[in-house]
């Protein structure tokens, strides 16, 4: 199939439809409005169903119902809306339901702004809702990668019965890039014999539930989910290492920020500074092993994490490299995007201290 020029948000929606998603429940919020608009138009054409819910809270609970009924289902929103969805996300994780949640992140806290940000990292990766659980968090940096990860996200969700989040930002959602919708090799997925489809007696009665009033039963339930997380860590961790082979300083960045850092590596090379980029594609599971292995190399003198936040992923980078090398941070927040020249200046400063 040939490439088409598409806006990030619309590409996400089309990718979802091509991945077999037929149900979308959402609520308007900038900067992700093109996703529900596209779904509202396209889903009825392919025998699907779009519902504009009365709130994000209702939308995520509609996702719960549809996922529990066995459908491939998604919702999308942006930061303040994702905060509202946290109740449902926790229930979905507890009841082990597969679904895709897209967060086109904007600046915060509070109503914040509508410009791109990465300040929802903690919320996405460390929990967000109550209880012991994890989302699988995918962080694309191009629209092509977004499209590829949408399909992968649905597959991961179905394979492990766990909610998956695409953590984008306003930049990825709003810009246009050429994109190809590739025929992906389908995963072998387990049958959804646990879904509420009407009970004819040919399987155990389906009960979608996250309540386990006996503490021992609840602990067993959570332990089983955490065993699943170990499998996800082993099988699904994704990271890109660029230019790291002889790097003095390794910069960690994801999503839009990683694109900027990539151009900084070239600017730095022209100045004779060797910069590598480690770009986590899965933010959970986090590629801790990869970071640690680079931290063990002698040629790597320091790490810098660049984010559109006040410093969130940097905590995971610091944990991963475990004191083997110094860990620095540079970020802009509130919808401001780091400039390549400022990142380079930061690198030169670190170089002066650590080399």
């Amino acid at each position: 199939m040939s490439k088409v020029l598409m806006k990030g948000n619309e590409a996400i929606a089309e990718a979802a439809i091509q991945a077999g998603c037929r149900f979308f429940f959402g609520y308007p919020i900038t900067p992700q409005n093109e996703i529900p608009a596209y779904m509202a138009k396209r889903l009825p054409q392919v025998g699907g169903c779009f519902v504009q819910a009365e709130s994000e809270v209702a939308a995520i609970n509609m996702v719960y119902g549809a996922a529990g009924a066995g459908a491939r289902v998604m919702t999308s929103s942006s930061s303040p809306g994702i905060s509202l969805k946290q109740e449902g996300i926790s229930y979905i994780a507890g009841a082990e339901l597969p679904c895709l949640i897209v967060n086109i992140v904007r600046g915060g806290p509070g109503l914040g702004g509508i410009q791109p940000a990465q300040s929802d990292y903690f919320q996405a990766v460390k929990g967000g809702g109550h209880g012991d659980y994890h989302l699988v968090v995918l962080a694309p940096s191009t629209i092509q990668e977004t499209v590829d990860l949408v399909r992968k996200g649905f597959d991961i969700a179905d394979q492990y019965r766990n909610p998956v989040m695409i953590l984008g930002d306003g930049m990825l959602g709003q810009m246009m890039e050429p994109v190809e919708f590739k025929e992906a090799k389908p995963r072998r997925l387990p049958p959804k014999d646990w879904a509420t489809t009407g009970w004819k007696g040919d399987r155990p009665r389906a009960v979608i539930n996250s309540l386990f009033i006996d503490p021992q039963v609840l602990e067993d339930h959570v332990n089983r989910i955490y065993k699943k997380y170990e499998e996800i860590k082993a099988n699904e961790t994704l990271v890109e290492c660029y230019n790291c082979e002889d790097a003095e300083i390794i910069v960690s960045a994801y999503g839009t920020t990683a694109r900027i850092v990539r151009s900084v590596t070239e600017m730095a090379a022209r100045k004779g500074i060797k910069i590598g980029l480690i770009r986590p594609i899965t933010l959970w599971p986090f590629p801790a092993e990869t970071l640690r292995s680079w931290a063990q190399r002698d040629h790597v003198k320091a790490f810098l994490t660049v984010e559109m936040s006040m410093g969130q992923m940097v905590e995971d980078v610091t944990l991963s490299i475990d004191g083997l090398k110094p860990s620095h941070f540079y970020g802009r927040t509130g919808g401001m995007v780091p400039r390549p020249a400022d990142i380079l200046a930061e690198i030169e400063k670190i170089r002066g201290v650590n080399l």
Binding site: F23, F25, C49, V51, A53, E54, S55, V57, A58, A59, N61, M62, V63, Y64, G65, A66, A67, G68, A69, G70, A71, V73, E87, G88, Y91, A95, T196, T197, G198, W199, K200, G201, R205, A206, V207, I208, N209, S210, L211
Partner: protein, 245 residues
């Protein structure tokens, strides 16, 4: 010998956890009898609330989902849109439906979601220990209205059925009571009718059931039934509030 009485097939064998004198058990049975009589048990998906009926998924012998507090109508919407040919019902109390889930029930009704809601109104939060509900009567004492509910500070008891009946999407809405045999029979009829309306695809259906909470009302079961008759029915008039043609 012919069997004249038996447990409906649509109820499991699990012993119910409800307090003595609570009318949840009666209403569960009425819903289950309806499912049996309409022969829809294998095609029904129920949604349990948060509240006293939270374990309803253990009692109804059909596929079930347990929803977050107040969100049952949203969960039901998700299920029904995926399986439009199945029968979907929610079972919710007054705190769940009229307080935290007020938005979800209003909009599910307004969208005309083809679901049936069984709304248990006993004028109090039961599971959490007897707090004031939106349906708590004026001057009624609860643990969070210890001096009695006052209109000036706590507002008035909400008549949900009348409110929802004003919405175009609502196809069948009736308020019933289960304080005596005659009214239980009427409640059964209403529940069956609501399910029939759903199956006919007419729109949103709801039956509000005036119920008891002897434990948190601080009354005997018999006193509770009298209290429904003497205090609740005068404020919450019984009858059909909406019946689409």
């Amino acid at each position: 010998m012919a069997k004249v009485f038996q447990k409906p097939e649509s109820l499991t064998d699990k012993p119910m956890h409800y307090c003595p004198g609570c009318t949840h058990g009666i209403v569960h049975r009425l819903v289950a009898e309806t499912m049996d009589e309409l022969n829809i048990r294998q095609d029904t998906i129920g949604i349990a609330p948060v509240g006293c009926a939270v374990f309803a998924y253990d009692y109804f012998n059909c596929d079930m989902q347990e929803a977050a507090h107040g969100r049952a109508p949203a969960v039901a919407t998700g299920i029904k849109r995926v399986h439009p040919d199945k029968v979907v019902f929610t079972y919710q109390g007054d705190g769940d439906l009229a307080s935290i889930g007020a938005a979800e029930i209003v909009h599910a009704a307004n969208r005309g979601e083809k679901i049936t809601t069984i709304f248990i109104n006993n004028a109090i939060y039961g599971m959490t220990g007897g707090q004031m509900a939106p349906t708590t009567l004026l001057d009624q004492v609860t643990v969070t209205s210890p001096y009695g509910r006052k209109a000036e500070t706590e507002g008035y008891p909400i008549r949900m059925s009348e409110m929802l009946a004003a919405l175009e999407g609502a196809a069948y809405i009736e308020r019933v009571s289960v304080h005596d045999i005659k009214h239980i029979m009427q409640a059964k009829k209403a529940i069956k009718r609501a399910f029939e309306y759903q199956i006919a695809g007419k729109g949103f259906t709801l039956v509000e059931v005036l119920s008891t909470c002897p434990t948190n009302w601080g009354m005997t079961p018999a006193e509770s039934l009298e209290w429904v008759k003497n205090h609740m029915i005068p404020y919450y008039p019984l009858g059909v509030k909406k019946e689409a043609k």
